[in-house]
């Protein structure tokens, strides 16, 4: 097919694929839909029969180098597409359970924080799939054969750039951010033409001062911002703004290395043609004295125009962050009382509900984790702080059930001491909160919570044994799924929080689950391969659960039979 005729094929394929996916039970984007809700209308698996779930397929990727297995697979037209740490992409035929193809990206220079990982692929028109890589490339592969269609270097990995998130398809564009906030990058989000790989636009997460070609008029004072002494919702940041202003000339070019990675998949609203994403920490992570100012747009939820890449609005959760409480969990769009809002679960331990049109705060939830000494300054003996440097909600995507208006969040409880610049001489981790030291003997655990987005109250909360990294999935079957670092994969009643089913997969289930249909059956899939950063057991299994084949063919058993045999919870079961 010549280039001159190829251009029109892509939108036609995409339109057909999107419509078909909405109807067919495919899962074709990281967040389940463009709004990132991780909510499925599938309900064959419900509160009435979830106790019968069994493993129906196990795909062991066979990679030789394990890392954090944070992938959410995508399913399109009977094929499941999986990515692994160190960037192997694999396609599995769901009918035969056999591997169709495998692409092993040859990594060049790599530098990455927090363990090697990749969270997934994007698919365009059913024809091409896309993967971001640890050496900051965006690779387009043929969906049928895994052959490289094009391979673009998004940014130079030698300067600290990498890509770990699943790209996002918008129309004929592939949208991708970059990681590297620990290494003095200047973060960005870029749109590439899905067919040709040509760059369409680039938006910078660190706004430049006036006079620079990348000046952003939504940040007229550049990344200095407004020198906010408090968070937008009024919490005191204990900043010495006078000193910062005095130092600003000395550090005039700090913005060029200001950090601000965008390393989780954005949300997209088609009606307003707006992309919403979270921006990570400023650089250097620990030392705010060398980066005076608010450090925009770090720690922000940002909205940009999908056509032009221009900023629409931003909401900075923590100006001039020195606690590593950056915005990482991907924002979710939902409708609340007829109003379109953007929801973000913060490392701060609050869920922020923002007006999708203006970015104004609608409400901040009650905290979904214990909080102590928020935004306190370090001390010699250490100031006990909660959340610790991992949050709150880390990168784990939340799920929003639009029928309940609940946001489901997997969070960490890790008390830490924030200490001043002295330390005994020992080799230590230099990034991600090394000024934060875990308190020996203090209990750490995880909290899985449902937050009522209309009221901001925590509707229910379950404590689990270990701090949580992974994510949530909710369904019209009245269920919410999430995994734990000890290998537990759990199903809860979305309304009540009651644990209805659990399976232990061995390695940590530290990824965001998904659901799909194949052959008329509904399945729940989750990668159970652990987490490098917080040392959960590693593995390479992609677990796929379903009802026993006979039950699926015969339909769900009667309520009476279920209660007698398994004591299944039928409260709130989908009709």
């Amino acid at each position: 097919m010549s280039m001159s005729t190829r251009w029109w094929v892509a939108p036609v394929l995409l339109a057909a694929a999107s419509q078909a996916a909405a109807q067919s039970g495919d899962w074709t984007t990281y967040g389940g839909n463009d709004w990132n809700q991780r909510y499925s209308r599938l309900k064959t698996i419900s509160t009435a029969n979830v106790s019968q779930l069994i493993p129906r397929m196990i795909f062991q990727t066979g990679i030789t180098k394990l890392g954090s297995f944070e992938n959410t697979p995508i399913v399109s037209n009977g094929v499941m597409y999986v990515t692994t740490p160190y960037n192997t992409a694999i396609a599995y035929d769901l009918s035969t359970k056999k591997e169709l193809w495998r692409y092993e990206h040859k990594l060049g220079t790599t530098i990455f924080c927090c363990g090697p990982n990749n969270r997934g692929m994007a698919i365009h028109g059913g024809a091409h799939v896309y993967m971001g890589t640890l050496d900051a490339h965006l690779v387009a592969l043929g969906a049928k054969d895994g052959k490289v269609v094009w391979d673009k270097e998004v940014a130079d990995p030698a300067f600290g750039y990498s890509i770990t998130h699943a790209p996002l398809i918008i129309g004929d564009n592939v949208i991708v951010g970059v990681s590297g906030g620990e290494y003095g990058i200047r973060g960005s989000v870029t749109a590439y033409n899905a067919v040709t790989g040509d760059q369409v636009w680039r938006w910078y997460s660190i706004p430049a001062p006036k006079g620079d070609s990348t000046f952003d008029d939504k940040a007229p004072n550049g990344w200095w911002g407004t020198w906010a002494p408090k968070t937008p919702d009024g919490a005191d940041l204990h900043r010495d703004v006078t000193k910062e202003k005095g130092d600003s000339a000395k550090y005039a070019d700090a913005w060029t290395r200001g950090g601000g990675g965008v390393w989780m998949t954005p949300a997209y609203d088609k009606e307003s043609n707006t992309i919403f994403f979270a921006v990570g920490n400023p650089s250097p992570d620990l030392d705010g004295s060398v980066r005076p100012g608010d450090n925009l747009y770090t720690d922000c939820v940002v909205a940009i125009d999908a056509g032009s890449g221009k900023t629409k609005w931003y909401y900075q959760t923590v100006p001039h962050d020195v606690w590593d409480l950056d915005a990482v969990s991907p924002p979710v769009v939902t409708s609340l009382g007829g109003k379109k809002v953007v929801v973000h679960a913060g490392k701060t331990g609050w869920m922020y509900v923002l007006d999708a049109e203006t970015g104004k705060l609608v409400r901040k939830s009650d905290s979904f984790v214990p909080q102590e000494n928020m935004f306190a300054l370090p001390s010699d003996k250490g100031t006990r702080m909660l959340p610790g440097a991992n949050g709150g909600a880390e990168w784990s995507p939340i799920s929003v059930d639009p029928t309940l208006d609940y946001g489901f969040v997997a969070a960490l409880h890790q008390p830490m001491n924030y200490i001043v610049h002295t330390a005994p001489w020992e080799k230590r981790r230099l990034w991600l909160g090394s000024a934060f030291v875990a308190i020996p003997g203090e209990e750490q655990y995880g909290l899985f919570s449902a937050v009522n987005l209309k009221t901001g109250k925590v509707a229910w909360q379950n404590k689990v044994a270990q701090p949580m990294m992974g994510g949530a999935l909710s369904t019209a079957g009245g269920l919410t799924f999430t995994g734990e670092g000890n290998g537990n994969f759990n199903a809860y009643n979305s309304k009540t929080g009651k644990l209805l089913w659990q399976f232990n997969a061995g390695a940590g289930c530290n990824s965001a689950p998904m659901t799909f249909t194949h052959g008329g059956e509904q399945f729940i899939a989750v990668a159970c391969g652990g987490n490098f950063q917080i040392s959960y057991p590693l593995g390479d299994a992609l677990m796929v659960f379903g009802l026993p084949a006979r039950s699926a063919m015969m339909g769900a058993p009667s309520k009476g039979m279920m209660k007698k045999k398994t004591g299944a919870d039928t409260t709130g079961a989908a009709k």
Binding site: G160, G184, R257, P284, L286, H421, K427, L430
Partner: protein, 132 residues
């Protein structure tokens, strides 16, 4: 031979870093520069100092296999394209991480050459440890 590239790299640091480090005592030997000197430098000086260190380290590594200037040029190009420099990352990476390193007050007496080695090790894994 194992340590020869270190010497060449550090000589380069002394030359380029000294020129970039306006305000630092020019009579102090480069091997004595430490975290206090680092923190006394402005950001641009830190980048220049780091670029100098990287240039010296890269030059010395290339020189191990080059017989003449043409070979040297080819070796530098090859190392850059293959990403096989012993210090493979850009100046911004090292500046950021060394700023973090010297944020700790007890690290400040340590020489800058040691900080570069330690930060690089944490980024890529162990290399031959120089004697302190």
């Amino acid at each position: 031979m194992t340590r020869s590239w270190w010497w060449a790299a550090l000589c380069a640091v002394g030359f380029v870093g000294g020129r970039a480090s306006a305000g630092l005592d020019p009579h102090r030997h480069w091997s004595a520069r430490n975290g206090d000197d680092w923190r006394a430098m402005g950001p641009e000086a830190q980048v220049a100092y780091t670029d100098g260190f990287l240039a010296g380290a890269g030059f010395a590594q290339a020189a191990e296999t080059a017989a003449d200037s043409a070979g040297l040029r080819a070796a530098v190009t090859s190392l850059q394209q293959s990403g096989r420099f012993r210090f493979p990352y850009g100046a911004n990476v090292y500046v950021t991480r060394i700023n973090d390193y010297y944020w700790w007050e007890n690290h400040r007496p340590l020489p800058t050459w040691y900080a570069f080695w330690e930060v690089n090790t944490s980024l890529i894994g162990p290399t031959t440890e120089p004697a302190r």
